[in-house]
């Protein structure tokens, strides 16, 4: 599975837009990009998934350039409740082990 690299931590303020970028230089043709959110003492929660260009849902947007070697999770107008760890993963259902590798993630801290 492709390895991902993302910043260890980020800080922002309420009402701001936050963009977290993930690098995945070795992404395979079949791989999708998936982002999870984890609050303290809880399991990760699926946020958004995409293959190319732009995907938007009620929580976030995901921007993927044409070469797919990176992706950016965009959180519009963050609030204190968006303080969490965000994980970027790449993989596909064709992966032989059906497993997902979680790295250390990006610890996002939102301040008033």
């Amino acid at each position: 599975l492709a390895k991902t690299t993302q910043p260890i931590s980020m800080d922002s303020y309420e009402g701001q837009e936050v963009n977290i970028t993930c690098s995945h230089n070795n992404i395979a043709t079949n791989d999708y990009i998936t982002w999870y959110q984890q609050f303290p003492s809880q399991g990760p929660r699926f946020i958004i998934q995409g293959y190319k260009t732009k995907v938007t849902n009620e929580v976030a947007s995901l921007f993927i350039p044409a070469d797919r070697k990176s992706s950016t999770l965009s959180l519009p107008r963050v609030s204190l409740s968006d303080t969490a760890v965000y994980y970027c993963l790449v993989g596909s259902g064709y992966s032989s082990a059906s497993k997902i590798i979680f790295g250390s993630g990006t610890r996002l801290s939102i301040r008033p």
């Binding site: 990009i33 003492s41 399991g43 699926f46 993989g91 259902g93 979680f102």
Partner: protein, 116 residues
């Protein structure tokens, strides 16, 4: 709808004692099942995964073992706990392979294990 249960929520065990953590999934059949461990402030470490009853794959050599006696039941065990086994244990499930997208995993509430 699907739900995933884990118990106990918290556990304090002495070194050398046995361990049994249970995970059950409702509302789906033949799921892929996973056990993860998360140390404080760290990412998730995949310990075991299972694609079917009795089929267990281990990702990390350790004194832990896993079993899947029923389709929607996944158990994590140890005969003798070590201090390093402390952590937050998460069970997760995903749909069976065949979905061409990256498998979305659904996590349980977790068990916080402290080994003293």
């Amino acid at each position: 709808s699907q739900t995933i249960h884990q118990w106990p929520a918290t556990l304090v065990q002495p070194v050398g004692s046995p361990l049994s953590l249970e995970c059950t999934v409702e509302g789906t059949s033949n799921p892929n099942l996973y056990w993860y461990r998360q140390a404080a402030g760290r990412g998730l470490q995949l310990l075991f995964y299972s694609v079917g009853i009795g089929q267990i794959s281990s990702e990390v050599p350790q004194n832990l073992s896993a079993s899947r006696p029923q389709d929607r039941q996944f158990i994590l065990s140890s005969k003798k706990l070590l201090l390093s086994d402390s952590g937050f244990y998460l069970c997760a499930w995903s749909k069976v392979e065949g979905d061409h997208r990256g498998p979305e995993q659904f996590f349980g509430p977790g068990t916080r294990l402290t080994v003293l």
